[in-house]
């Protein structure tokens, strides 16, 4: 395309490609390959960004993208046909854009889906737009929009697994696109490939990186059992945590803000920042590269700011990880919400009482200490 690519100078264009390589953790020697992939497209790839039971946190997080920036993404790299938080159109005009894109760009557009999809009460718990005076519900939209898409990016834990709305599944029927928590069987039944980019919210790099990867390779990145790209979700927080040494040394924070458990550089008096597992940190079971990638232009991240990891990229989030500030989750045992610790306590006491009673019985019947005692 030489001089100008979709409104960018050659120099700016290569800058965008370089930024895309950075986000994917690729060496800058990949820049020509990225350039080729992006230039290969005759026009900017169309994107539909639809929302079900969402909170817009994923969209707000995407606004924090740095390399490429959100302005570059929206104006230079992609053609955002529908993104309800930034687009100019409202009402029927906006809905018409979705319909036109589905019809005219069949098999070519990227569908970014944010939020869970509820199916109780005819799906009325999430709707946008009307058709013949009837609300268009999210569960209708997902089938229509995903079937004609080239790829679906389920952004955020709600879209991927059901997330927080799933904790109220009994009422709204909220599910992810392909998953219902850790189990397969979400709201989308079609065959278009779905890549999960969970997180509450997802780091902008995870989302933008996944989109750029797809544009470059025209296929989904290598994913784990839960459909998450391994390049971002390949390891646990715990394995890369800056406080891992404290965990190994047995140094644990017990009281928030306690200077005796915080490093001098962070305003405390301890040798290092103590591990937060006793405060319920979900780092050991949570997969993401937060400790390395960090957040908001790499300014900080939850554990770096002395808060726990709440396991927000996990399919179990939130109900399966509650209570967040306890070390083990509650499990549902025959309809009773309790912890493994409590079950153990009850069984332990029951066994102790049972054996004690048995011993009394043994003496009472003369099996022990009586005539039958010496067996």
């Amino acid at each position: 395309m030489g001089e100008s690519f979709k409104g960018l100078s050659r120099r700016d264009f290569l800058k965008v490609c370089g930024a895309s390589a950075t986000i994917l953790g690729l060496s800058q020697s990949y820049v020509p390959q990225i350039a080729q992939a992006l230039e290969g497209a005759a026009a900017k790839p169309p994107v539909l960004w639809l929302q079900g039971q969402n909170c817009t946190g994923c969209s707000v997080s995407a606004l924090n993208s740095n390399h490429p920036s959100i302005a570059e993404l929206v104006l230079d790299i992609l053609s955002f046909r529908y993104q309800p938080n930034i687009m100019a159109a409202s009402g029927d005009q906006a809905i018409q854009v979705i319909k036109d894109t589905i019809k005219n760009e069949k098999g070519k557009y990227v569908l970014v889906w944010e939020g869970a999809v509820p199916d109780k009460e005819d799906g009325l718990f999430a709707a946008f737009g009307e058709e013949n005076g009837k609300p268009m519900t999210a569960d209708k939209w997902i089938t229509e929009a995903a079937d004609s898409a080239a790829v679906v990016i389920a952004t955020g834990t709600c879209a991927a697994f059901g997330g927080i709305p799933r904790a109220n599944q009994a009422v709204t029927g909220a599910k992810g696109l392909l998953f219902d928590g850790t189990a397969k069987g979400g709201a989308y039944k079609g065959t278009t490939p779905v890549v999960n980019v969970p997180g509450c919210p997802p780091n902008p790099d995870w989302l933008v990186g996944t989109i750029v990867y797809w544009l470059m390779n025209k296929k989904a990145p290598d994913v784990d059992n839960y459909g998450r790209p391994k390049m971002f979700y390949g390891q646990t927080i715990h394995d890369n945590c800056e406080r891992r040494a404290a965990f190994e040394a047995g140094l644990y924070l017990e009281t928030w803000g306690d200077p005796a458990a915080i490093a001098p550089a962070e305003g405390g008096t301890a040798t290092q920042n103590y591990c937060l597992v006793k405060k319920g940190c979900k780092g050991p079971i949570t997969f993401s590269d937060c400790p390395i990638r960090r957040w908001n232009s790499r300014t900080s991240w939850p554990i770096g700011a002395h808060g726990i990891c709440i396991g927000c990229t996990q399919p179990e989030f939130y109900a399966g990880l509650a209570p967040l500030y306890e070390k083990v989750p509650e499990v549902n045992l025959f309809g009773i919400q309790t912890t493994a610790d409590n079950i153990a306590k009850v069984l332990g006491v029951a066994v102790a009482i049972g054996l004690g009673a048995h011993l009394v019985g043994n003496f009472a019947t003369g099996r022990v200490g009586g005539k039958g005692g010496d067996k």
Binding site: T56, L63, N85, E121, A126, G257, A305
Partner: protein, 516 residues
């Protein structure tokens, strides 16, 4: 009479539908309905109350700090903790950083496209290199025949700014603002771990301790953002509000209910104490600015006659219930109708600034005329940004002087029955959480969310909510281009996932105007 449905209303947070009846080019009646429900109040029942501080932030990805703060105030209150000064100040810094990121986002990215004809950029004839770059960008989009997401749009009406110089400058500020608001989130992340959804504010205070290094890291970002906000954002709002947009204000587009309410924001003495806040709490009735009443939270109730809930109407939030019924007859919104003393009240920047009556703001308001309107709300938002910038410097100073102070009063989960209330103003309105706990679990949780105050449907008496009221009277000469309606709606900065209680009307014929 023409019925206009705007569904979805875009460039807001959440799912909103607005329906209006237009007669002789003027809106006669309006219905605002939220079209999404997840049920945070239901799903947090039986959970650990400390989880609420993390989970209720996810009520809304835009207002997350507000819900986090309201929730932590409520749980603090229930636990009976005394937050140390440094904990309180760090919470203020986290909260304020979000306001500084949120206000320009609202003005440039959500609202501005209603006021400018972005295609005028193509006629820019000046030679400012930065503006020429903006022009090149837009022209190349037009040439490539792909101007999404800037089009389609409502046809520019008579009030839209078409001067190429002004529009091009505004668009360049739109692009700058995208970068600048990131700084606000970086400031938030420095104290809170990440943005959106801060992670380290806990019952009793915060987990993070202040250090000189962190204050410095915060300060350089803050001063860069502050200077841009004052010289660009505030300047833009004032210039546009007193200039090209004054005709819209003069037409009194978006008058509203003239009752205002504020919970106050940014604790200056004790955490959660509504009497000692940087932005005052109070109540104004009928625009009577001489008579600002004290806020009495016990006068807050929520009506649900026109909301999709089968639970009782008119309940106080501490004993409120949220039990959805999306097929309830006559109902048309998942948003409840909060009322103070039985009357609708507008919350948000205009309410705050009228409560505050800072001489600077009153002077600005005097210039354009003191009445509530879409333009006045934007002006109030800009002015309070300026006030907040000054106060952040004060907090940083206080923090630096007491750098070794405690940050958290960490108390164990109480097992007895407790109740807590946490209320605070949000960038866009007044937000409150009420929690009841027993045996270490949440037994009841009610959120009277910020946008509920403004976007709630009619109450039991049939009185319209503030936004519905504000839309009435808006000139809509062409029902296919209801630009003034969306201008008014967006001036309230809707943020509706917040209004967790929201459902879509299915059969109700009245409801036809949709805003997403």
């Amino acid at each position: 009479m023409a019925k206009v449905v705007i569904d979805p209303v875009t460039r807001i947070e959440g799912h909103l539908k607005i329906e209006v009846e237009v007669e002789n080019g003027v809106v006669k009646d309006a219905w605002s309905s939220g079209t999404m429900y997840r049920g945070f109040e239901q799903l947090i029942q039986g959970k650990d109350p400390r989880d609420a501080i993390r989970i209720t932030q996810r009520v809304c990805g835009v207002c997350n700090t507000i819900h986090g703060m309201s929730s932590v105030f409520a749980v603090d209150n229930a636990f009976g903790v005394t937050v140390p000064d440094n904990g309180r100040i760090i919470r203020n810094l986290i909260f304020a950083s979000d306001w500084l990121a949120d206000h320009p986002l609202h003005f440039y990215h959500l609202a501005a496209l209603d006021y400018i004809d972005i295609m005028a950029v193509a006629s820019y004839a000046g030679n400012d290199p930065a503006l020429l770059k903006v022009k090149d960008k837009i022209v190349s989009l037009v040439k490539a025949n792909d101007t999404y997401p800037l089009t389609p749009r409502y046809e520019p009406d008579a009030f839209v700014i078409k001067d190429p110089e002004v529009v091009t400058t505004a668009v360049s500020h739109y692009l700058e603002a995208l970068e600048m608001r990131k700084l606000g989130h970086e400031m938030l992340a420095l104290w809170g771990g990440r943005a959106p959804f801060f992670q380290n504010v806990v019952v009793g205070g915060v987990g993070i301790r202040p250090t000189v290094a962190r204050i410095a890291e915060f300060t350089w970002r803050f001063e860069q953002l502050a200077s841009w906000l004052e010289n660009t954002y505030v300047a833009d709002v004032v210039a546009l509000g007193t200039g090209p947009l004054k005709p819209i204000h003069d037409l009194k587009v978006g008058l509203g209910v003239s009752n205002f309410l504020g919970y106050g924001a940014f604790d200056e003495k004790k955490s959660g104490d509504i009497k000692n806040r940087f932005f005052r709490s109070g109540v104004i009735d009928n625009l009577d600015l001489k008579n600002i009443k004290d806020l009495d939270p016990s006068k807050i109730t929520e009506d649900v006659k026109y909301s999709y809930y089968k639970s009782a109407s008119g309940l106080k939030p501490a004993v409120g219930k949220t039990d959805p019924d999306p097929k309830k007859a006559d109902a048309y919104s998942f948003i409840k109708s909060p009322r103070y003393d039985g009357k609708p009240h507008e919350g948000g920047p205009l309410a705050r600034m009228l409560m505050q009556q800072d001489p600077g703001f009153m002077e600005l308001a005097g210039k354009i005329g003191v009445w509530p309107s879409a333009v006045a709300r934007h002006a109030a938002r800009a002015y309070e940004t300026k006030m907040l910038i000054g106060q952040i410097r004060v907090w940083l100073d206080q923090l630096a002087k007491n750098i070794n102070g405690e940050v958290c009063d960490d108390k164990a989960l109480p097992m007895d029955a407790r109740e807590g209330m946490g209320i605070t103003d949000a960038p866009r309105s007044a937000n409150g959480h009420w929690v009841s706990i027993d045996k270490g679990k949440v037994t009841n949780y009610q959120i009277v969310n910020a946008s509920g105050w403004n976007f709630g449907p009619r109450d039991d008496k049939g009185v319209r909510g503030p936004v519905e009221e504000a839309i009435v009277g808006a000139p809509v000469p062409d029902p296919t281009n209801p630009t003034n309606v969306v201008r008014v709606v967006r001036s309230f900065d809707p943020c509706l996932a917040c209004s967790v209680h929201i459902i879509e009307p299915t059969t109700n014929e009245i409801l036809k105007f949709k805003v997403t």
